[in-house]
């Protein structure tokens, strides 16, 4: 591909969807028995880069989200994907689109600080969810379809009720994912990747933390792990009381106990951002980092804070998709390649 690849999605049958700057999104279908893969473009509908791709279940199509503010539906059942419809979805960039587990609904978010819900079948807008005060970077569905969560530039995480179209709660402020850099006078952060574990008991938010130079991307890739059954957000007095009551624990452990929020950092991780995060069906998290420290895949057990395995990538990754059966992971890379790695026990 010309230029860096962007995030991608996968189908159980093996198709991988990805995009790359000015090139239309692509569908890659691996060839059977060693035959060459087939790559088909998803042409039309966008006049800017595609940032996010939602793959609807049961072959019901693919929806792409662009920096042009549009959502575009494709019928990909045939040999050549066909555009079905394009809608003006957000004012400014659409940063993420996600399909509900049953494929009936879509959630999208963007620079207009809104989360929007759509009928996946016909593109009707069902709800406009307001409350974020900065660009909304990521959106995801809980695996049982009961909730939509979103995270913005400043690490504010909200849970929305998709049936009623209302805010259910503020889950956590993942403030590790945000910093205002006073030298450059700019905000840096936000969730750059998002995912649930299968049970829906943990929410993972990938991004950058410990930033020392925003404009050079000097900071550490991190996964912020939020317990779904999070205690109510404590106020400062409660936090102080909790800290006094558990003086033997480390500050990080105290914070995790008080808020249900933990950070996963790779051992000796170089600088970068966690651009991809996914829960493996065998019970561990995969994070995909890229930045000044190069490209990495890192593997974390759900109860640990450091990785138990890491793999260096040949280039910076910019997005990741795990096959539903957990046997392969596709990483879209900045050198223009999409690389697929097998995951074998």
């Amino acid at each position: 591909m010309a230029g860096p690849c962007l995030p991608c999605g996968t189908r159980p049958l093996g198709a991988i969807y990805f995009s790359a700057e000015n090139t239309p999104p692509q569908r890659l279908v691996p060839g059977a028995d060693g035959a060459e893969a087939t790559v088909s473009p998803l042409e039309g509908g966008h006049d800017s880069w595609v940032k996010s791709i939602a793959v609807l279940p049961d072959g019901r199509g693919v929806v792409t989200a662009g920096y042009d503010g549009r959502l575009v539906w494709f019928d990909d059942a045939g040999k050549t994907p066909q555009m079905v419809r394009a809608i003006e979805a957000h004012d400014g960039w659409v940063r993420s689109v996600a399909a509900s587990p049953d494929g009936r609904l879509l959630a999208s978010c963007g620079n207009d600080r809104l989360v929007r819900l759509w009928d996946a079948a016909d593109g009707r807008e069902l709800a406009v969810l307001s409350g974020h005060e900065s660009h909304v970077y990521e959106v995801a569905w809980r695996p049982d379809g009961s909730a939509v969560v979103s995270c913005d530039l400043k690490g504010v995480v909200k849970e929305w009720d998709p049936s009623a179209g209302v805010l259910r709660r503020d889950i956590a402020t993942a403030d590790a994912l945000w910093k205002y850099d006073p030298t450059f006078r700019a905000d840096i952060g936000g969730a750059r990747s998002i995912g649930f574990n299968t049970a829906g008991s943990q929410l993972a938010l990938g991004g950058i933390t410990k930033v020392t130079n925003a404009f050079a991307g000097i900071g550490k890739p991190v996964i912020v792990l939020v317990d779904w059954e999070q205690p109510a957000l404590p106020d400062k007095a409660d936090q102080a009381a909790d800290a006094a009551a558990s003086q033997d624990a480390s500050p990080e452990a105290k914070a995790a106990e008080a808020t249900g929020v933990r950070q996963l950092l790779g051992k000796g991780a170089g600088d970068g951002v966690c651009w991809g995060v996914a829960w493996h069906p065998e019970g561990f998290w995969i994070g995909q980092a890229g930045g000044g420290g190069g490209g990495w895949l890192r593997f974390f057990r759900p109860d640990a804070t450091e990785d138990f395995h890491a793999m260096k990538l040949p280039a910076n990754g910019r997005g990741m998709a795990l096959s539903p059966d957990g046997t392969g992971v596709a990483v879209a890379m900045a050198d223009g390649f999409l690389r697929v790695y097998g995951l074998h026990g």
Partner: protein, 425 residues
């Protein structure tokens, strides 16, 4: 104290041939030493034109601002939008500025051959190649010296900054033309009367100092003593005019129009200073040094820049100030057309853009052209030297002239360069 020579002799003057024909002349009343210098009154005009520089620190991306290349490998994700000038498009990140482009011109062919921050800042603000064996006066100092009206008691060269580099050097023109900084938009330092000191006591104290100074100057006057005297006199003037620097005096409506954030407030302050005749105002906006996540950061920074800047241009026009105020938006360089592997753009001095308008320069124009992917200038390459000449000529200063300082002739601008004539036609 080491100092550049200033106010030392009749030689410290702007030569007659440096003035454009037909302009008025008068004494430079703000500097006691200069005002006493024979012949200077004839050499320095009583200027009425002003310069506003908006300096986008760190190097704004030309591809995300004035020279978009949508749909190319280098163009990035943003689209180009039409402007108030038919056929002229700029980045979609500047929708408010797009409505003002009939009052501005774009120079799309800067080739400054430099990718160093410090050098770029010095070159763009001094119009000279750096490093050089010599310290050249900054644009603000030259404008203050040549265009400060007679008897004008405010500083002629003011920098409003939240961040970015400090005021430009006055070099051999002398410290009285160096920039006065309004850090974080606050009034210049040491311009408030200390608590416990009454106005009457202060006046008596100043009078005593003045008598001592006059007596000393009669025997051992130097550039340093004149500069020292000037700084005291200016501080006394500013004590009585502090509200000039008080942006809270502007209306609530104007605060809303410009925005409550730092750059909005600084633009409103710039309008206030220009309305009061300050010859040179520079507003820094920081920062654009986006080696990482160039596109996200340009949304953030240009999103802050766009509305206040467009509002300022509109206000200057509606208040009749634009015809006598040269407005220039510049950086130390542009950013690489190639997008790096962190979605950043790096330093690039080979083919980038600035914007200029007002003071009678051609508006709605585009000077120069880059190639399809923005990696090279295809037509009308210019650099900091040409820009410097153009700004000065637009406000009526013959940039091909010279300053005479301490027996030496100093070309006002780089004699190897000249103005961009198309803009001055």
């Amino acid at each position: 104290m080491a100092s550049n020579p200033a106010c030392r002799s009749a030689d410290h003057a702007l030569s007659r041939r440096s003035l454009l024909g037909g302009l008025g002349v008068g004494a430079l009343g703000m500097c006691g030493g200069l005002a006493a210098t024979p012949g200077l009154a004839e050499a320095v005009k009583s200027g009425s034109k002003r310069v506003l520089v908006v300096f986008l620190h760190g190097g704004v991306s030309q591809l995300e601002s004035w020279d978009p290349k949508p749909g190319t490998d280098t163009g990035g994700p943003f689209r180009a939008i039409p402007t108030s000038v038919p056929g002229t498009h700029i980045s979609e990140l500047l929708p408010h500025t797009a409505t003002q482009m009939h009052r501005l011109s774009i120079i799309r062919s800067l080739d400054t051959k430099n990718g160093d921050h410090g050098r770029g800042q010095r070159e763009m603000i001094s119009g000279r190649d750096q490093p050089a064996p010599f310290d050249y006066p900054s644009l603000g100092a030259v404008v203050a010296k040549t265009s400060t009206p007679t008897g004008f008691s405010l500083p002629g060269h003011i920098l409003i900054r939240g961040a970015g580099t400090g005021p430009g050097s006055a070099a051999y023109l002398g410290p009285q033309f160096a920039g006065v900084a309004m850090n974080d938009g606050k009034p210049p330092e040491y311009t408030a009367r200390p608590e416990g000191l009454t106005g009457e006591a202060d006046r008596r104290r100043a009078a005593l100092r003045s008598r001592f100074n006059d007596r000393f100057a009669g025997r051992r006057r130097t550039a340093d003593t004149d500069a020292y005297t000037f700084s005291y006199d200016q501080a006394l003037d500013l004590l009585d005019q502090r509200e000039v620097f008080d942006v809270t005096k502007e209306s609530v409506r104007d605060h809303d129009r410009y925005g409550s954030h730092e750059f909005g407030q600084h633009c409103l302050l710039a309008r206030r200073l220009l309305e009061r005749g300050v010859p040179f105002v520079q507003v820094n906006h920081s920062n654009y040094d986006t080696h990482f996540e160039n596109f996200d950061f340009h949304i953030e920074q240009l999103g802050e820049f766009d509305r206040p800047f467009a509002t300022l241009v509109n206000d200057l026009t509606e208040r009749g100030l634009m015809e006598d105020t040269l407005v220039c938006v510049m950086s130390e360089f542009g950013r690489t057309p190639r997008i790096n592997d962190r979605y950043g753009r790096d330093h690039w001095g080979t083919s980038w853009s600035i914007v200029m308008g007002g003071a009678g320069v051609q508006s709605g124009g585009i000077i120069g052209r880059t190639n399809a992917d923005g990696t090279a200038v295809e037509d009308r390459a210019v650099d900091h030297g040409h820009v410097f000449h153009t700004i000065l000529q637009a406000i009526g200063v013959d940039s091909l002239g010279e300053f005479h300082v301490a027996g030496r002739d100093h070309p006002i601008a780089d004699p190897a360069k000249g103005p961009i004539d198309e803009l001055l036609a």
